[in-house]
Amino acid sequence: MTRAPESVVVSRLDDELALLDRRTGTYYGLDANGARIFELASKGYDPGRIARELAAEFDAPPPEIERDAAELVAKLLEAGLLVDDGA
């Protein structure tokens, strides 16, 4: 189950997000689509569920959304902006 670690401060700017990592002192910007995926992933949603949630919002077929979500979640996990508790 994925979530945002306490070391990450999330700031909303319009419909986008800035993710500020206290461990590394760096910050990242997520566009509106990335922000929605991050918000759902930080609630523990897996890419399949994210795709189902966002199918109505995004103008793309669910398999494509799921692929994009999985790719972004993997990058966020690698950067330490999400952690996976494995539950």
Partner: protein, 292 residues
């Protein structure tokens, strides 16, 4: 005791500061007492700015300028200092009005930007930019047109968001003699102290000015996270004092309600009048460019 007007406060001190004297009108401003005392023996301070050392000791921020004085900033209203051996107060006053005041700003500001601020009809506009971008001369041009100058060089931001006033005479001087140029060598434009504002002011917008290879000035609105990316490089951060990420988060928290623009001006030409025209247009209609 002499008193000086700076940062919207009344600084009471025996040091002779290069700041405007606080007139009677300033009696209502919050006081900052800068008292000469015999501080306890120096302790090792962990951080350095050249030969100046600083750090937190028992909750106070201590700044040690070995050839001038050691300053102890207890809180936003109380500063104590001990003169260095054989030092008179002149060096202490010089360092207090510049470096140490910058440390003190951290007790009243959520974040400090490297830039200038002028007051427009709807609030304060901040111009940030790299050295040589023309922000000081741009702000001076706006001041010449009648906009109150709030800050030059350092712009303190507080919750609201609001811009706290700086020291208008410090660099854009009243008489054009005392460091009237920006530190980046910008042209000198004298600003009378009467044109300066001494009270906090709502933050109305931010313009990031840059000198680029272009034919004419170009103004672009920034949206979303790009706002933070545009402004964040101009945060003034002190190692060991400012938490970079928390300061970024505070800045990010201020930006959703504030229009942010990138203004690119030609490298070689003197376009301060055109740039000032564009900023004045934003002052009148901050969302004008975003509606296009």
């Amino acid at each position: 005791m002499p008193a000086y007007l700076a940062f919207g406060r009344r600084f009471e001190t025996e040091l002779t500061l290069p700041w405007p004297p606080a007139a009677r009108l300033a009696d209502a401003l919050p006081p900052v007492r800068v008292s000469r005392v015999d501080l306890a023996d120096a302790v090792a301070l962990p951080f350095a700015l050249g030969a100046v050392r600083y750090g937190k000791v028992n909750g106070s921020l201590v700044v040690d300028v070995p050839w001038a004085a050691r300053f102890e900033i207890a809180d936003q209203s109380s500063i104590r200092y001990t003169l260095a051996a054989d030092a008179d107060g002149r060096a202490a006053a010089e360092y207090f009005s510049g470096l140490v005041a910058g440390f003190w700003l951290r007790t009243v500001a959520e974040a400090v930007l490297h830039g200038s601020a002028v007051e427009g009809p709807g609030g304060a506009w901040i111009i940030v930019g790299a050295s040589g971008s023309g922000k000081s001369s741009g702000a001076a041009e706006l001041a010449r047109r009648g906009h109150a100058l709030m800050c030059d060089d350092s712009v303190p931001l507080a919750a609201g968001p609001t811009v706290l006033p700086g020291v208008a005479m410090s660099r854009l001087g009243a008489d054009g003699q005392d460091g009237a140029a920006g530190s980046d060598g910008a042209d000198k434009v004298a600003v009378p102290p009467s044109a300066a504002r001494h009270e906090p002011c709502r933050l109305a917008g931010i313009v990031r000015l840059a000198a680029v290879d272009a034919d004419r000035p170009e103004l672009r609105p920034a949206r979303g996270a790009a706002r933070l990316a545009l402004v964040a490089p101009f945060l003034q951060l002190l190692e060991g004092v400012d938490d970079r990420i928390m300061t970024l988060a505070k800045l990010a928290g201020m930006l959703p309600s504030v229009p942010v623009y990138a203004l690119d001006r030609p490298l070689a030409d003197d376009t301060r009048a055109e740039c000032a025209d564009l900023v004045e247009r934003l002052m009148e209609a901050p969302d004008l460019e975003e509606e296009r």
